[in-house]
């Protein structure tokens, strides 16, 4: 018996990273801006996305969404009311979306071929831990946080907030009754991800949504 040390230096999520790189190339070639929306369950990703899809569509943009949940197609049905093509991904117990699931659900999607889209939104499974490790090839990762969750959420989940490209605070319409400390929340997001763009929004009243749409349009103009 001989004991030997074999150097491997191999990324554990290499397979996902490679698939994600392939998706990123496809998105770029098709000229579609892809965003990955991450948050805890109940932050209001679906309401926020529903609003975003409807407004972008009204502005003449071609949009589509993939939505991840463990079970049910409730969210897909809600989002489809915007008139945009929507596909539900059921992970059946898996706590995150991965690049393989995205690739599979992009296949044979009539009316939502990548080349026929301006924006593709991916609503991840509600979870602030695991989705941070799985690249979906997105250009922009958006971390959402609602006023009911507590201002210290970014401090509790630095892995996610630090990996985000933009942050969205949702449900601003109920900030006052919730005793939401806006200054502290903004400061905490900035401690974890200095300089990140933060949008304070309400899908109910539409507050802050124009700024968000302008950001999307700017980012799309930059793509490539």
């Amino acid at each position: 018996m001989t004991t030997r040390i074999v150097e491997l230096r191999r990324g554990i999520l290499k397979k996902n990273d490679e698939l994600a790189a392939g998706l990123r190339d496809r998105y770029t070639a098709a000229g579609v801006l892809v965003l990955n929306l991450v948050s805890s369950p109940g932050t209001g990703k679906t309401a926020f996305l529903e609003w975003t899809l409807r407004e972008l569509k009204a502005r003449g943009a071609r949009v589509a969404a993939l939505v991840g949940d463990l079970e049910t197609d409730n969210d897909a049905r809600r989002l489809a009311s915007s008139g945009a093509p929507v596909r539900q991904i059921n992970t059946h117990g898996i706590c995150h979306l991965d690049a393989e699931m995205i690739g599979k659900h992009l296949q044979d999607w009539e009316g939502a071929e990548l080349g026929a889209l301006d924006y593709l939104f991916i609503e991840n499974v509600g979870n602030l831990v695991c989705p941070s490790s799985y690249d979906l090839g997105e250009k922009i990762r958006v971390a959402l946080l609602s006023v009911t969750e507590g201002e210290d959420k970014p401090l509790k989940y630095p892995t996610m907030f630090n990996s985000a490209d933009a942050a969205v605070i949702t449900k601003m319409d109920i900030a006052v009754p919730c005793g939401f400390d806006r200054e502290t929340a903004l400061k905490n997001v900035n401690e974890i991800r200095p300089g990140i763009r933060i949008f304070e929004t309400s899908a109910k009243t539409g507050a802050g949504m124009n700024e968000w749409l302008e950001y999307l349009e700017e980012q799309r103009a930059l793509r490539g």
Partner: protein
């Protein structure tokens, strides 16, 4: 809780690399895990026992080398190690840091294996 998928990837990856060493048993698997890799040590160990059962990795030890977050501080002109994950500011000058140099690693560094010697194999 995606530690089970991580551990399954480790088993797959290590088993693949064992093809060059037929009959070898794994004694130790060494990982490099960044402090921001979103991996919980306890869950990793728990899942490791389950996922390695009946594989050449069964009974092996998982060694996790945790790497601190290293950011590049522009004003200081050097790489600095963060003391905590509660603030992405330079511990020297207090300015915010934007450029991460280490902290998201999630990789298998090396494995320690027991190889069956040619002579032994003939017995």
């Amino acid at each position: 809780m995606h530690e089970l998928s991580i551990v399954s990837s480790i088993v797959e990856s290590v088993t693949e690399s064992l093809e060059a060493y037929p009959g070898a048993r794994v004694k130790e698997v060494r990982l490099r895990v960044g402090a921001l890799a979103a991996v919980v040590r306890e869950s990793l160990d728990f899942c490791y026992g389950i996922a390695t059962e009946g594989t050449p990795l069964e009974g092996s030890i998982l060694v996790v080398n945790v790497l601190p977050v290293v950011m590049h501080c522009e004003p200081c002109g050097q790489d600095v190690e963060l003391d905590s994950l509660q603030s992405f500011r330079c511990p020297r000058c207090g300015e915010p840091c934007y450029d991460m140099r280490q902290g998201r690693e999630l990789e298998i560094e090396a494995i320690e294996i027991d190889e069956i010697d040619a002579v032994e194999e003939k017995k």
